[in-house]
Each structure stands twice: as structure tokens, then as C-alpha cells.
Amino acid sequence: MTEHQQSRAMDRIKAAATVRRGLITTAIGLVGLAATIVLVQLYTPTEARQGLAQKIFYLHAPTAWSTLLAFSLCGLAGGLYLWLRDPRLDVFAESSAEVGLVFAAMMLSTGPLWGKPIWGTFWQWEPRLTLTLLEVFLFIGYRALRGAIVDPSERARYSAIVGLLGLALVPFVHLSVYLFRTIHPQPIVLKPSAPSLPWEMLRTLFFSLAVFTVLYLGFVTARYGLGLLRQSRSTEHAD
């Protein structure tokens, strides 16, 4: 084997190891998820006013967190790519975007499940939901752009730009929707859930946040490994 082929083989082995690491982390996360559900059902008090349906909050809120995490890391990885031009950063950014889309889908589907019994409507234009919805559109635009550009380095540069600008958009969306709702109070007021929760609920929430962070790490690591494998396969054809 030439030195060139040897280093390619090493890359593939490392990529496969990354995928394995990701899958193991995901498995741990899924166990944690099961534990969270148990925690929510058996060890967390039921909220007086909203009743049993409120419990989906412990699964719903962390998905928003994971979406934002995925989105932010995608933008940051893009920014780093523009600076360092390391193609692996682009693979990571792409992976984070895909994973983010998955979490966003989870968030937007659990939201209405919670919303209907508690708010009386399937949807509300509140900061978190609105932001996540816009993040979905940005992800879709990101993927559409990637699909439309053939040259890998051009694709990486352009996606990085969209990711970075998208990240900069986040605080403005949050602020605008917040200001909008302050001026136009909605009939059903959404309590800012974290600060005014009793300890048992906070504990469950934090645990769930940790679990969803682990799930994010697991998904993105596995996807990153797969992305590296795909990239090494395509450059292989060149030799």
C-alpha cells in the first residue's frame, strides 16, 4: 500500500470508530431518556393548575434546547471553517444541522400535544416555538443550498455563511417575539417555567436537559463519523 492509501485507510478506521462512539453515546442517551420518563411519571409532582398534561413539558422543553444547541454549533463550526478551512468542520456543521432538524421536528410535534390541553390551541406565537419554527426554515434553506452547489469547497463556504448569519438572527427573533407579546398580552399567559418551579420539578427538568444534551452528542457524533466516511469515499475515487 502506498503512504497515501495507508493514511486513507487510517481515516476510514477513525471515522468508523467515531460512528461507534456516537452510537454508544446515543444508547446511553436513550437509557437516560427512559430514566427521565420514569422520573417524570413516578418521582415528579403533578402541577396543580395544568394537570397531567403538563408533564410532557419535561420532554418538550429540552428538545428546544437541543435544537438551539445544534443550531448554534452548526453556525460556530461554519465560522471556524471560514477561518481554518478544515473540511471536517464542514462535515460537523452539516451533521449538526441534520440533527437539529430532527430535534426541531420533535419539538414542534410535542408542542401542540401539550398546547391543546393547556393553552386550548395547537399553536402559540411564543418566543421558543417561533424561534424553533424559524430554525426549521433556516435548516431547510441550509440544506437546499447545499443540495444546489456541486463544488465541495464552495458548498462549505456558502453553508458556513448561512449558518453564521442564521445564528446571529436568533437573539433578534427572540427579542422581537418577546417584545410583541409584552405589548399584546395573550389571553393565556405562559408562565416562564424554570424559575418558579419547585425543586422536584427543577431536578427532573435539569436531568432531562442533560439527557437531551447527551442525545444530541450521540446523534451528532454518529452522523459526523458517517459524514467523514462518505467524504473519504468520495476523495478515494479521485486517486
Binding site: L134, I140, A144, I161, V162, S176
Partner: protein, 226 residues
């Protein structure tokens, strides 16, 4: 700094000259704006919600969508005969290219706004009162930021096969904060409230403009240089 401005103006002047010769983008955008206003008029139920409640939204959606039609022009014209290469070959700083395209786009959007606003007042029987200066101020603040992002995205979109579709898909999420702010301020102004009362929204617009203009200008060289 002066150099940058000089170069930027040279590019903007060239763009405006080309547009004056071919007159495609601007005329299309203005016709679009006028048609949209007409359609909105027929799309409302006279017995339903009061027009004045919806009017600011109609105004701003029309202006921003018509403006988007003009953005692709900026880099589509450089694609013919690879003219962009001609600019990139020269020692001119890439920031000046961004500035030039941005200024040209601003000029087009300002023209679209200048024509849409009177049409809007006419078609929807809006009484401006003393709101005009405030409206103009909001207009300037609202378009400054999203034109910057539109300039960056149109440079990318023209390199894909579906530029007309790609640009709105990328750009529309970025319109949410400015449109929200513009509509809120406009509706207060039309109700006779003073401009400075809307300080919170104006601040959001101002910060949005500064952030996105700066980011777009900084990111642009990475876009055009391989």
C-alpha cells in the same frame, strides 16, 4: 475608507447605469408592488376586519417582497460574460464590491418604497396625518439591515440553478424581526402616536441593522474569493 467609498460608488454607478439601459429589474418590482396592492384590496372582506388594522402588514409585505425581486439582479448581471471575474481580478478590495452592490440595492429598494407608499395611501385611503416623517424613518431603519443580508444571499443564490426560489427561502426568516418591528411602528404612527414612543422597536431595528450590515460586509470576501 475614502477609497472604499469611492470604489463602492464606482460599482454602484455602473450597476445603476446598466439598469437604466435595460430597465428590467426596477420596472418588474414596481409593477409587482402595484399589483400586490390591488390584489390585497380585492382580497379583503369589506365587512370584515378594518383595513387600517391590516394596512401596515400589507404595506410591509408588499415592499419587502417587491424588494426581493431586485436583489438577484445585482449578481445576475455579473454572471453574464463572467464580469464578476473582471472585478475580482482587480486590486479593488472585496469590501468595496459589497458596498457597491449594497448601495445599488438600497437605491432600488428606496425607489420601490417611494412608489409603493403613495400607491398604498391612495388605494387604501389611509390618512397619513403627520406620520410621514416617522414612516420614512422606519422605512430607512427597516430596509438597511435586510438589504445587507439580501445582498449576501443573492450573491450565493445566483450560483445555483433556482436563484429566484433559493433567495426567498434563505432570506425570508431574516425578514421576521424587521417586518415585525416595521409593522408595529407603522400601525402606531398611523394611529397618531409619536415616533419616539416606539423606542423599543426602533432600538431592535437599529441593532439589527448594525449587526447584519457589519456581519455581511465581513463575510462577503469569503463568499466571492475561493
Amino acid at each position: 475608507m475614502i477609497d472604499l467609498l469611492r470604489h463602492g460608488l464606482a460599482i454602484a454607478a455602473k450597476d445603476l447605469r446598466v439598469e437604466l439601459r435595460s430597465r428590467t429589474a426596477l420596472v418588474t418590482a414596481i409593477a409587482f408592488a402595484a399589483l400586490v396592492l390591488v390584489i390585497f384590496n380585492f382580497a379583503r372582506d369589506p365587512a370584515g376586519a378594518r383595513t387600517i388594522d391590516l394596512a401596515p402588514s400589507i404595506l410591509w409585505v408588499t415592499i419587502t417582497f417587491a424588494s426581493m425581486l431586485t436583489f438577484n439582479r445585482a449578481f445576475a448581471l455579473e454572471k453574464e460574460n463572467a464580469a464578476l471575474d473582471g472585478i475580482l481580478l482587480s486590486p479593488m478590495p472585496r469590501g468595496a464590491l459589497f458596498l457597491g452592490k449594497y448601495l445599488a440595492n438600497l437605491a432600488f429598494v428606496a425607489t420601490v418604497t417611494a412608489i409603493t407608499l403613495p400607491l398604498f395611501v391612495l388605494f387604501f385611503n389611509v390618512s397619513l396625518g403627520g406620520a410621514l416623517p416617522g414612516l420614512l424613518a422606519v422605512a430607512v431603519l427597516a430596509i438597511a439591515g435586510f438589504v445587507a443580508v439580501g445582498t449576501v444571499f443573492s450573491a450565493m443564490a445566483v450560483r445555483t440553478r433556482f436563484a429566484e426560489l433559493m433567495l426567498p427561502v434563505l432570506l425570508l426568516p431574516f425578514l421576521v424581526p424587521p417586518i415585525m418591528a416595521a409593522v408595529q411602528v407603522t400601525s402606531r404612527l398611523l394611529a397618531g402616536r409619536p415616533l419616539l414612543e416606539q423606542a423599543a422597536w426602533l432600538k431592535i431595528l437599529g441593532v439589527y441593522d448594525v449587526v447584519f450590515l457589519t456581519l455581511s460586509a465581513m463575510i462577503f470576501p469569503a463568499l466571492v474569493d475561493e
